[in-house]
């Protein structure tokens, strides 16, 4: 069985399962997310955009825009 990365996009309340190798930056590009507007947590730890991802990682993309 191929392991897929579990990604939660908080703002859309959407979970994606994806096979991906690369950095956080690459993933954000692929998902069309502006790095200025989101924070990324991998396995519940805040990471920088150069962080390399594994398919066993659980990734959360958190929106930084306030809801008012």
């Amino acid at each position: 069985m191929v392991h897929k990365m579990k990604i939660l996009i908080e703002r859309k309340n959407q979970i994606i399962n994806l096979q991906f190798t690369g950095t956080v930056n690459g993933l954000l590009k692929k998902l069309n997310q502006n790095p200025e507007a989101v924070l990324v947590a991998v396995n519940n730890e805040l990471v920088t955009n150069d962080c390399k991802l594994k398919n066993s990682d659980s990734v959360k993309i958190l929106s930084v825009v306030s809801g008012g």
């Binding site: 908080e10 502006n34 790095p35 200025e36 507007a37 924070l39 947590a41 730890e45 805040l46 990471v47 920088t48 955009n49 150069d50 958190l62 930084v64 825009v65 306030s66 809801g67 008012g68």
Partner: protein, 304 residues
């Protein structure tokens, strides 16, 4: 990537710091803003407007931490507009947070002040009024009035670098740059007994850094969105600035710095800018016009 101050892994880039150094950096930035712009003086009583979002909770936490060092006192003030399914949740966040940190909290509701909740206003007498128009006026009136009633020498709000740079650009694009004269790290410095000056200690901190701070601090924040929120224009501007920021770092910071340099000129441009505060004929609260916006919206029927 490593922290620029130690050998630990960075949790944030630009400024590139580990968790510990990042938290310290944010707190230092707030302290510097307060000192450089003389936002808080010794013996001030600061009332913090809290909504339960990341900005106001971060502000409340950091001010509470700085309180002994800068020798001021602190209390929290929350407005309950009466928005079912939203505000009741964020008020639980605020209440728990204040209890945990032993901060005194007062909650003032539209219902007690104006006779009806926001939900009720919008469903009955104000069907054709934009929710944010009502809230903008009511919130402003209540924050000032209750900050004063609770003896605040200053009212602190959680506005950040993104909020402020967006407002400046919006005023510019709408052709009303003079409205920006009301922005800045402190406003309402005109001496008046009824008017509480406002301060924005998070003024120089980008939204993303505040989100990172509150994530790292594990603040228990309700991330819901107000059901009435219509941020169409502000949202577009925010997105535009973030796109620009990606290519030109510090774009947002450059906007507010340019603004701060020119604020005096803008104040001269501002037609409405007067040195003296006027009072609403109806409720007697400070107002730029003969009858304040809140009383106009209430059609002078309800007194506060």
């Amino acid at each position: 990537m490593h922290c620029t101050k130690c050998t630990n892994n960075a949790v944030y880039i630009n400024p590139t710091f580990c968790k510990q150094h990042f938290l310290l950096y944010i707190e230092k930035t707030v302290e510097k803003t307060i000192k450089r712009h003389s936002l808080i003086q010794k013996n001030d009583h600061i009332v913090v407007a809290v909504s339960g979002g990341k900005d106001s909770i971060t502000l409340l936490y950091i001010l509470n931490k700085l309180k002994p060092k800068l020798s001021f006192t602190l209390a929290a003030l929350a407005i309950d507009e009466g928005i079912a399914g939203y505000r009741n949740k964020t008020l639980v966040t605020v209440n728990d947070f204040c209890k945990q940190h032993a901060i005194s909290l007062n909650i003032v509701s539209y219902k007690d002040s104006f006779g009806k909740s926001l939900d009720k206003f919008l469903a009955t007498t104000h069907k054709n009024t934009k929710p944010c128009t009502l809230c903008g006026a009511f919130r402003r009136t209540l924050l000032n009035k209750y900050a004063r009633i609770y003896s605040a020498s200053k009212l602190a709000t959680g506005h950040n670098l993104d909020d402020e740079s967006q407002a400046i650009i919006m005023n510019l694009l709408r052709g009303t740059p003079q409205l920006s004269a009301r922005l800045g790290p402190q406003t309402g410095v005109i001496e008046d007994d009824l008017f509480v000056p406002r301060i924005k200690p998070l003024y120089f901190i980008p939204e993303k850094q505040i989100a990172a701070y509150s994530f790292l601090m594990k603040f228990n924040i309700e991330y819901g969105e107000c059901p009435y929120v219509v941020q169409a224009y502000r949202g577009v501007i925010g997105e535009l600035l973030n796109k620009y920021e990606q290519k030109h770092q510090d774009a947002k910071k450059n906007i507010i710095n340019l603004f701060l340099k020119n604020k005096k000129k803008l104040m001269k441009l501002s037609i409405k800018h007067e040195k003296k505060v006027n009072y609403c004929n109806h409720c007697k609260e400070p107002s730029a016009t003969a009858v304040c916006k809140t009383c106009v919206l209430l059609e002078n029927k309800q007194y506060i």
